[in-house]
Amino acid sequence: MSMDILLQNIANSITLGSLYALIAIGYTMVYGIIRLINFAHADLLMVAAYIAFYGILIFTLPWWVAFLIAIALTALLGISIEKVAYKPLRSSPRITVLISAIGVSFLLENLGIVAIGARPKPFPRPEELVWNIHLGDISFLSLTIIIPIVTFILLAAIIFLVKKTKIGIAMRAVSKDVETAGLMAVDANRVISTTFAVGSSLAAIGGILWSMQYPQVDPLMGVFPGLKCFIAAVLGGIGSIPGAMLGGFVLGFLEIMLVAFFPHISGYRDAFAFVILILILLFRPGGILGENVVEKV
């Protein structure tokens, strides 16, 4: 493999890893607080991408306005999903809530199909954000730089939010122990809503960046990235925000490199993430950064 192809692959894996990391944080935050795999999280990517798509194409909004609206509406949707479909089941068995999450996910996907059809549509890339950069012999898209930068800024912001702000500390308290946090006058409902808002906004940003990088939107576009980002969250250590970031980058890197070095098995690319998931669940269920402690009965 020549040097520029290797560089190209490294750049690709950083881009993909950034996207995975952004989306994985939403999974890990929600899981950390209400112990639920939020299946609908994957579909929020799609919703955000479509809102941005229609904002630009139909309402001819400036791209940044369309993006902001998409992020806001997606956050709102995330909060409403929790209120309608998860909150009433908070004291039910975990299986029940999970079924509800699967139901919401299917509802969103099929509403997408009903509203805009199953056929993929090209996503309008704003010229201000997407251009070609030439560096000696290699040329690459501006997104290769923009996506990691946006990601790193957001990751820093999230870490600040969780570590330093009042609501972040409340989040950590609720994720440790809902009841005790309640006794300490933490309003669990508000914390949960905030978590969903933050997670969903990140999913929205992830979805918009995703559809610029791979410029196409369709109602099922969130499914595979969603599953993989959940895997990334587990890989890093579910419930841990730095873990989700690490897991996202590791998974993105492994996936790109697998295809780069073993092109003949590239057909198995999507299976690869699941193999990682199963291995990690079996041998290090706490993930890379998680603690593996004896489960108290």
Binding site: R35, L36, I37, A85, P88, L89, S92, R94, I95, T96, L98, I99, S100, I102, G103, V104, F106, L107, E109, N110, L111, G112, I113, V114, G117, A118, P219, V223, L227, F230, I231, V234, G267, Y268, D270, A271, F274, V275, L277, I278, L281, L282, P285, V297
Partner: protein, 355 residues
């Protein structure tokens, strides 16, 4: 007591005869399209009942049913297609020489479909069943996807993404419903046996079940493997009903439909799953109209809405899980005791009124 047993035995016979008569009638009076839908319902009944064994009775949240169906469907398809069709269909890459000239009769091929799926279930269950709840769900979903991806990539065996066509067709209501009734009977007998109670014990309280000497892992694996067997059987039947298979058929959507049947019928009720399988399959067909353009009195034309059926079914699932969690039957079963009791009470009341 003995007399009651005899009554129940006779009632069972009468019930089966009535079902047989109904199938006979259907076979001769329904059109091909209607028969096909009822056959599909029989397949969904098998799927629902087998997922209920795993999810409703043993408490394991498996989302891998579509994968097991895929294994069953491909097994029987490859074994029963004629060498001639195989030569034509595998045009990207020729079929593996070992498989090229095999042509089995239908029954053993379908059974082997179930058995192969059971082997997959056993092998997958071995690592996966060390996990619980949501982790088990996502791991089984992962395995199911891995199966699909393997099928897409092993072109000399499965013909890859192009799928298989010209699978020998089975049209008779008898075959599908016989399979469904046998499945229901076998699973009912398992559930009423000591093993069935061991499964329930694990679902109710794993720690207590273990303290009563039950080997949790062995029993979970047993239940999971049985579930995989029947899912494979259903997949095999599906291959002969549709006569073509391809990897995209066995996406998560399929598992979703089975999950809907189990939840709607009641997690923990076999009769509920059967009723729900009929409702969902027939509902799926009836609701086809909402996806087709409609002409209202020749004045307004409503365009078709593809995807609308799944929207309706997703909402149905959410409504059941949020507001009516026990589903149609909860954990109750249709049984003669209940019916006989009602009749007795009715008789008593009539006697009371006469006096």
């Amino acid at each position: 007591m003995d007399e009651q047993l005899r009554t129940k035995f006779i009632l069972n016979i009468v019930f089966l005869l009535a079902v047989a008569l109904l199938i006979y009638w259907g076979q001769h009076n329904l059109n091909n399209f209607e028969i096909r839908i009822l056959n599909l319902a029989a397949i969904f009944a098998i799927l629902g009942v087998s997922l209920n064994l795993v999810l409703g009775f043993t408490g394991m949240f498996s989302l891998g049913h579509a994968g097991f169906m895929c294994v069953g469907a491909y097994t029987t398809a490859i074994l029963t297609m004629s060498p001639g069709s195989k030569a034509i269909i595998y045009f990207m890459e020729p079929i593996h020489p070992v498989l090229a000239n095999i042509q089995w009769p239908l029954l053993p091929a379908i059974l082997l479909g179930g058995i192969t799926a059971a082997v997959f279930g056993f092998v997958i269950g071995f690592p996966a069943l060390r996990l619980r709840d949501d982790y088990l769900a996502i791991a089984t979903l992962g395995f199911s996807e891995i199966i699909r991806i393997i099928v897409t990539n092993t072109i000399t065996i499965t013909n890859g993404a192009l799928g298989l066509k010209n699978i020998p067709s089975i049209k008779s209501l008898w075959i599908y419903w016989l399979a469904a009734i046998l499945t229901i009977l076998v699973i009912k007998r398992i559930l009423n046996s000591s093993w069935g109670y061991a499964f329930r014990a694990i679902r109710d309280n794993e720690i207590a079940a273990e303290a009563m000497g039950i080997n949790i892992f062995k029993h979970k694996l047993l239940s999971f493997t049985i579930g995989a067997f029947f899912a494979g059987l259903a997949g095999a039947l599906m291959a002969h009903l549709i006569t073509s298979v391809d990897p995209t058929m066995f996406r998560f959507l399929f598992t979703f439909q089975i999950l809907l049947i189990v939840v709607l019928g009641g997690m923990g009720s076999i009769s509920g799953s059967v009723v729900a399988a009929l409702i969902v399959t027939i509902g799926m067909e009836v609701l086809r109209i909402v996806e087709q353009p409609m002409d209202l009195f020749g004045v307004v034309e409503i365009p078709g809405l593809p995807g609308m059926r799944m929207v309706i079914f997703s909402i149905l699932l959410l409504l059941v899980i949020l507001f009516y969690r026990q589903g149609l039957m909860g954990t109750r079963e249709f049984n003669w005791d209940w019916l006989l009791n009602k009749l007795d009470r009715l008789k008593d009341r009539m006697r009371g009124e006469a006096a």
